[in-house]
């Protein structure tokens, strides 16, 4: 029997980026808020001090900051005709665990989506005709526009102290920024970070080819910064141990370094760590959430009643909790009915590894930060005419080389043996003069009828709950898109003077063992029609109006950018709707 805790106004499931944003906004509004987090509290001073945070084996290879698959994992198959098998160790993506969520060990590449991304279906149909889209593609408009989100993007960038060069301020194109971005109300709070050698060479070659390169917007501080909540961040030291690692310098924007120190001072906020929510509780009507049930590390079960439930457990765990709590109709791809699990997407990333003359180029690849890089955006979204190419979607490409950590980043030319004297010699010769961007081609993945998540019939987690089953494959559209982008990207390295350029295309079938990004999207998407979306435009659940679901699970399809800028903007947007609309009149904000 679950022990019952005193009622709260709000219970938040998961204290990552979105949970922290929502907790702060609602605590500020005077509500009594509790956050329940599956993993431990994580603290810069004690959990990743500079003295030992830079341990590649421990954090990058052995995934110390991540969820253990033994706690919970997923099953995977390419097609519904196959039997899904469990992901026994992480591969294509790596779910976070603990206070701060993915914000602890992300790179802090902080993008906004394009205005056309939010009206994707309408935009593409108007430009190319409905017949141009593949038949089984299920893309949708977002039900919120770029202009509506702009103030919330801005708020997140100022919270984080994002370093970057604006490309478009209120419609005026700015030199050195991204000319394709939507209009922003003001510049980034901090100037761009300094760029290492290979990154500047890339920018020069791109400029010579007629592109407009710009520094990737980065949540690694280019200078000391105090954010609007009064929290201070220090300058990034370009340590090169950023993605997969916590920043010991307080230089990377994370919930720890931007929100939590301010949030925790609110007397009406508290958190429970090491406690996993197993279910959202509903009343007998099934139309109202009464709170959540969770299990702590002693195995004790607790019930936390609350008037408002915020589900912010990360894309796929959001979907899992909806399915396990029986909220909304599960998606059925054969009948094409149901909304939970529908329009699940990931990413189409690939890379180009280039080898330069070691007598002429010394790149010092270890001098880098999590989001450092020079990018071009000519081939993202619908920034170029797709008519001749036979696919939709795109991505940014860039020399975004974030590290020279030697287990991960010791590239050797293709054809080199994998071991022995020749391999050793090649490692030595190329370390300083090769470029290996992390995700050099960062492409979109659009949604399809046969790509979805549901509950696995066979495999269970440690609580004997069914694992979530992923059914996913790349479609021709994504493969064509990736080939096009990878080829364009490689041309720039050729123009830089590389003696050998190796293209690593993303190929079908989708492979769960090859890391891409932890940018899972969809499964509980937002929209204007409850028959094809789980949430309305305020991220409010259509079936249970006192439940809001935050995170990239709301994206109807993925775009060609990293998600967190948009995830955070949506969280502020939803928080604003709760504060200004819902609290006055708690009920459905949109009548369907």
């Amino acid at each position: 029997m679950a022990r019952k805790l005193p009622r709260k106004d709000v219970v938040i499931i998961g204290l990552g980026w979105t949970g922290a944003i929502m907790a702060y906004e609602l605590a500020e509004a005077g509500l009594d808020v509790i956050a329940i987090e599956r993993g431990p509290w994580r603290n810069t001073a004690t959990d990743f001090p500079p003295g030992y945070a830079a341990d590649e084996l421990r954090f990058r290879i052995r995934h110390e900051l991540f969820l253990r698959p033994g706690q919970t994992t997923f099953t995977f198959r390419n097609k519904a005709s196959q039997t899904a098998l469990p992901i026994r160790n992480w591969g294509a993506f790596m779910p976070p665990n603990g206070v701060g969520g993915g914000g602890v060990h992300w790179n802090a590449e902080t993008w906004r989506f394009l205005p056309s991304d939010f009206v994707l279906k309408t935009h593409l149909t108007e430009r190319y005709g409905a017949g141009f889209l593949p038949e089984d593609m299920t893309i949708q408009d977002w039900a919120v526009t770029y202009d509506e989100l702009e103030p919330h993007y801005d708020k997140f960038e100022y919270l984080c102290g994002t370093s970057g060069q604006a490309g478009n301020i209120k419609g005026t194109i700015m030199e050195g920024g991204n000319p394709f971005e939507g209009p922003r109300s003001r510049p980034y709070p901090n100037p761009p970070q300094d760029q290492p050698f290979s990154h500047t060479l890339f920018a020069k070659a791109a400029r010579d080819l007629g592109y407009k390169p710009f520094p990737q917007p980065s949540g690694n501080m280019s200078r000391p910064y105090q954010n609007p909540l009064g929290v201070r961040l220090g300058p990034c030291t370009y340590c090169g141990f950023c993605e997969w690692f916590g920043c010991g310098n307080y230089s990377k924007a994370s919930p720890q370094t931007t929100i939590l120190p301010a949030l925790i001072r609110n007397s009406n906020f508290s958190a429970r760590d090491n406690s996993e929510v197993t279910r959202i509780d509903l009343d007998s009507s099934g139309k109202r959430a009464t709170g959540v049930t969770f299990v702590d590390t002693a195995g004790d079960e607790w019930e936390q009643p609350a008037d408002l439930v915020v589900l912010s457990a990360y894309t796929i765990f959001n979907v899992q909790l909806l399915l396990l709590s029986g909220i909304g109709k599960a998606y059925d791809p054969s009948a094409n009915t149901g909304v939970v699990g529908r329009n699940f997407t990931h990413q189409t990333v690939s890379d180009v590894v280039s080898f330069f003359d070691s007598a002429k180029f010394i790149f010092n690849p270890f001098i880098a930060s999590g989001a450092i890089g020079m990018c071009i955006d000519e081939f993202n979204g619908d920034n170029f005419d797709h008519a001749a190419h036979g696919f939709v979607g795109g991505g940014y490409v860039g020399q975004v080389q974030t590290n020279g950590r030697p287990i991960e980043t010791t590239p050797v030319p293709p054809g080199t043996p994998l071991w022995g004297a020749e391999w050793k010699q090649a490692v030595k010769e190329n370390y300083q003069s090769a470029t290996k961007p992390g995700t050099g081609v960062h492409g979109s993945m659009y949604s399809y009828r046969d790509v979805y998540v549901d509950l696995d019939p066979t495999y269970k987690d440690r609580f004997s709950r069914p694992l979530v089953r992923i059914t996913m494959d790349f479609h021709d559209n994504e493969i064509k898109q990736n080939k096009f982008l990878t080829d364009k990207f490689a041309e720039i390295f050729e123009a830089m003077g590389a003696k050998q350029v190796h293209k690593e295309y993303r190929k079908a079938p989708y492979d769960i063992t090859k890391y891409q990004t932890t940018h899972l999207c969809g499964g509980a998407i937002m929209g204007s029609d409850p028959n094809t979306s789980a949430l309305n435009r305020y991220l409010q659940n259509w079936d249970v109006p006192n439940l809001f679901v935050l995170g990239a699970s709301a994206f109807p399809q993925n775009a060609g950018y990293n998600p967190t800028g948009t995830v955070a903007a949506l969280a502020y947007w939803a928080a604003d709707a709760i504060r200004t609309k819902y609290l006055k009149n708690p009920g459905q904000l949109i009548n369907a």
Partner: protein
């Protein structure tokens, strides 16, 4: 406050009923413990912890073929790669701690990832026994360590290509594990037992955990001049004991 070891801190995220990590209610101020909770354990030289003497001999021979010595840089053996793997197999990596280990174990496609029931420790144990058996029966009673370098290379190449198979265990799977684990031992921080004297880092010019390159980020195409630093510091920082 007792410092927990790396092993225990790994175990502590395994949220289980016996967990050392207790759920807490956090309120008013950020929880903070005066000493780091999870400082790494530093591997010390000493006897083998996982391998038997025979296994260790075979492993030292193998790691020296995967990363052979050359005039400038020691090979896998002198860099401590076998010691590294020994300590890893003895620890959470060896027992596949934290990985998903429930059945049923289907075969699956390559895209679905490894589905083996064996732990890493079991894989090494079985594969080293099978290798030894194979050598003894085909090489006139000699063990792998007793073969000449080119015979060893030849045998490893045949395992890699699938030409040599073991009855008891997936020989190619073992070889893939070696191709991951040996370079990890060569390039990971010396605190884990490999990369002795930072030889792997010196070979390529990686400065280790120096952590602050603000004065170097704009010095383009210049070789970074400072020698590497490990989590445990540098040998020349440690006071020599007086004879």
């Amino acid at each position: 406050m007792r410092r927990r070891t790396f092993v225990i801190s790994l175990a502590s995220w395994l949220v289980s009923t016996t967990s050392l990590t207790r759920a807490r209610v956090i309120h008013g101020s950020i929880p903070w413990s005066p000493f780091p909770d999870s400082a790494p354990e530093i591997v010390r030289p000493g006897p083998w912890q996982f391998f038997t003497l025979d296994e260790a001999r075979a492993m030292e021979a193998i790691v020296d073929r995967i990363i052979p010595p050359d005039p400038e840089t020691p090979g896998g053996k002198d860099a401590g790669c076998a010691v590294f793997i020994d300590r890893q197999l003895r620890g959470p990596y060896g027992s596949n701690q934290g990985l998903y280990r429930l059945g049923p174990f289907g075969k699956g496609t390559k895209e679905q990832g490894a589905q083996s029931e064996l732990t890493h420790a079991e894989l090494y144990r079985k594969a080293l026994a099978a290798l030894d058996g194979h050598c003894k029966s085909t090489q006139g009673g000699k063990s792998f360590a007793e073969l000449g370098a080119s015979e060893q290379d030849d045998m490893l190449r045949k395992i890699e290509s699938g030409e040599i198979k073991f009855e008891t265990v997936d020989a190619q799977g073992f070889f893939s594990a070696l191709l991951k684990d040996v370079p990890e031992g060569f390039f990971s921080d010396p605190i884990h037992g490999g990369n002795r004297d930072m030889v792997g880092w010196k070979m390529i010019g990686f400065p280790g955990i120096r952590y602050d390159y603000r004065d170097w980020v704009h010095r383009h195409n210049e070789r970074y001049p400072y020698p590497p630093v490990s989590i445990a510091g540098r040998a020349d920082w440690t006071p020599k004991s007086r004879a």
